[in-house]
Symmetry: C2
Subunit: 319 residues, 2 copies
């Protein structure tokens, strides 16, 4: 019997994206005022620790700290502590998983733990995909708390509640929830008699030689497909017709949801937004194969595999 | 030649959702400190006006006010004014389109304009789909300003910039952008020997007899597909396998992006979250046909066509 799900790729494309390996059981409906306290009292509790943009990693690549270790490092008393959820099976204790920020003022013995930037951690595979996903969750949540101490409605200082998944204002009563910002990222594809081409651009801050998919924050009042068409037209002057959702990715810099699409280009003449892009052009499949392999004769490269742009390109190259 | 876009439905499902008819050309890269002032000086400028949650509509169902009319109503001097963008073609002037909030303290002659709730406007078709989309954009943006006057980072009062698409903090320098909250909404489908069934639930605040798709806010650190699986399991205890994106919808209550998916149910025994749902059960295709038609013998109904839940159900019923 034909099913609604026929035709989906055998492996879910989103599962292959960087930071998508998160297996934390969030049990969001159970969050309450006692969540963090109860979790810290659990002998199986483990914490992911952060200082600023860096994650703390123990010898052997282990990012999990016991409550005693985290307390000794000053994470529990001085920093923000949030409950991510629970480990997904009993083989690793099944206990609570938390994330905590260590205040900059606390001294840490750097001979015993490494401080690793989250991008580096992702690119180098310094921790498992499962840990990387949990670290992304923790980093995004802690970052939100650090930048949202005050009530946007009235200016008063707010308090953490619900295991770190809400901040309440004692002055005006407004509840504030962590934000997740949807971003469309798209590979525009133009059919030509001599073979298809895809559109990639370069932002000034990219690594030298790297080209990537165009992308932009979604705005209120538009669908995903409309945002793909708007952003492609605004950044490159290209008109888009049909849009096909491919995959999504949590992107913790600081808290984006990347929504990856393939987009049908209806025009080919590029009118680049010079503020946004320092170059923008069409690439052939052969050229992209070389870029993905890192063997392009001009040193032009694609984004690394942890980026959904890489996966959008590879899906088109390999089809 | 086969194309990446083969197999997409002829008409984009997102285009049929309520509030998806927005045709405003945003030209987001051109927003600056002068955007609103320049737009108001344009003879072709028109404004959508709001008071609280209501939209102002002139006789004949026209929601557009000239600058002089809006000024006379007190919208320009006393309220927040934002630039949505430009009308999409010259036939309607091609001029700037703005949105403005009228302060509650200003008296308005209610014999000359109607105040309509946005849901009512959507359900009754009181304005065109194009206007409805623009009103959704304006309402979400104005609502964000009204609830974000202060800097979440330091508590100081912030100032509107970039045509209403940013608020800057004069004290700490942080830039704040409007938020759009991604929500997954899904129709879980279970295959059975006697025909497929789909999962719908009832929240206590729903209209009597109405059942809808399960839904929930996405969180940092998860993909769309993972969020569909998490929410369905948290709310109904049902395990989900494959997930297929169907369509998306801007939902201005206050600023959600609904991401609609069909989801393959792997289990059938429901364990309802009693805080969230007052009922949750499986429905057959025959039953849903009656619900969509409003002829179910028990008075059970589906959400109205402006809701993406209706479209997710209809897409499954009609396939």
């Amino acid at each position: 019997m034909p099913s609604f799900f026929d035709g989906l790729p055998e492996r879910e494309p989103s599962a292959d994206n960087g930071f998508a390996g998160n297996r934390i059981r969030r049990l969001s409906e159970q969050r309450n005022a006692q969540s963090v306290g109860s979790a810290l009292a659990d002998a199986d509790a483990r914490l992911y620790l952060f200082r600023g943009d860096k994650t703390l990693i123990k010898a052997g690549g282990n990012p999990l700290f016991a409550v005693g270790e985290a307390t000794a490092l000053g994470a529990v008393a001085t920093g923000i502590v949030v409950l991510l959820g629970w480990a997904d099976n009993a083989s690793n204790g099944g206990g609570p998983r938390l994330a905590a920020a260590i205040a900059e003022t606390v001294a840490i013995d750097e001979t015993r733990v490494a401080f690793t930037d989250l991008r580096t951690l992702a690119v180098t595979g310094g921790v498992s995909a499962e840990h990387l996903g949990a670290v992304a969750q923790g980093r995004a949540l802690l970052n939100w708390h650090m930048r949202h101490r005050f009530c946007a409605n009235c200016g008063a200082e707010t308090a953490i509640v619900a295991g770190g998944y809400r901040r309440d204002c004692p002055a005006c009563g407004v509840q504030h929830f962590p934000r997740t910002d949807p971003v469309v990222i798209m590979l525009a594809i133009a059919g030509r008699s001599d073979g298809e081409r895809v559109l990639l651009g370069r932002q000034p801050h990219f690594a030298p030689g790297m080209y990537s998919c165009l992308a932009g924050f979604m705005e209120a009042g538009e669908t995903i497909e409309d945002a793909v068409r708007r952003e492609t037209h605004e950044e490159a002057g290209i008109r888009i017709g049909r849009v096909r959702y491919h995959a999504s990715q949590p992107w913790p810099f600081p808290s984006s949801l990347m929504i990856g699409c393939h987009a049908e280009a209806l025009t080919s003449e590029i009118a680049r937004d010079e503020q946004e892009l320092e170059d923008c052009r069409w690439f052939s499949r052969d050229e992209l194969r070389l870029m993905l392999a890192g063997t392009h004769p001009d040193g032009i490269t694609a984004p690394p595999p942890i980026a959904i742009a890489n996966r959008l390109i590879a899906a088109w190259v390999e089809r």
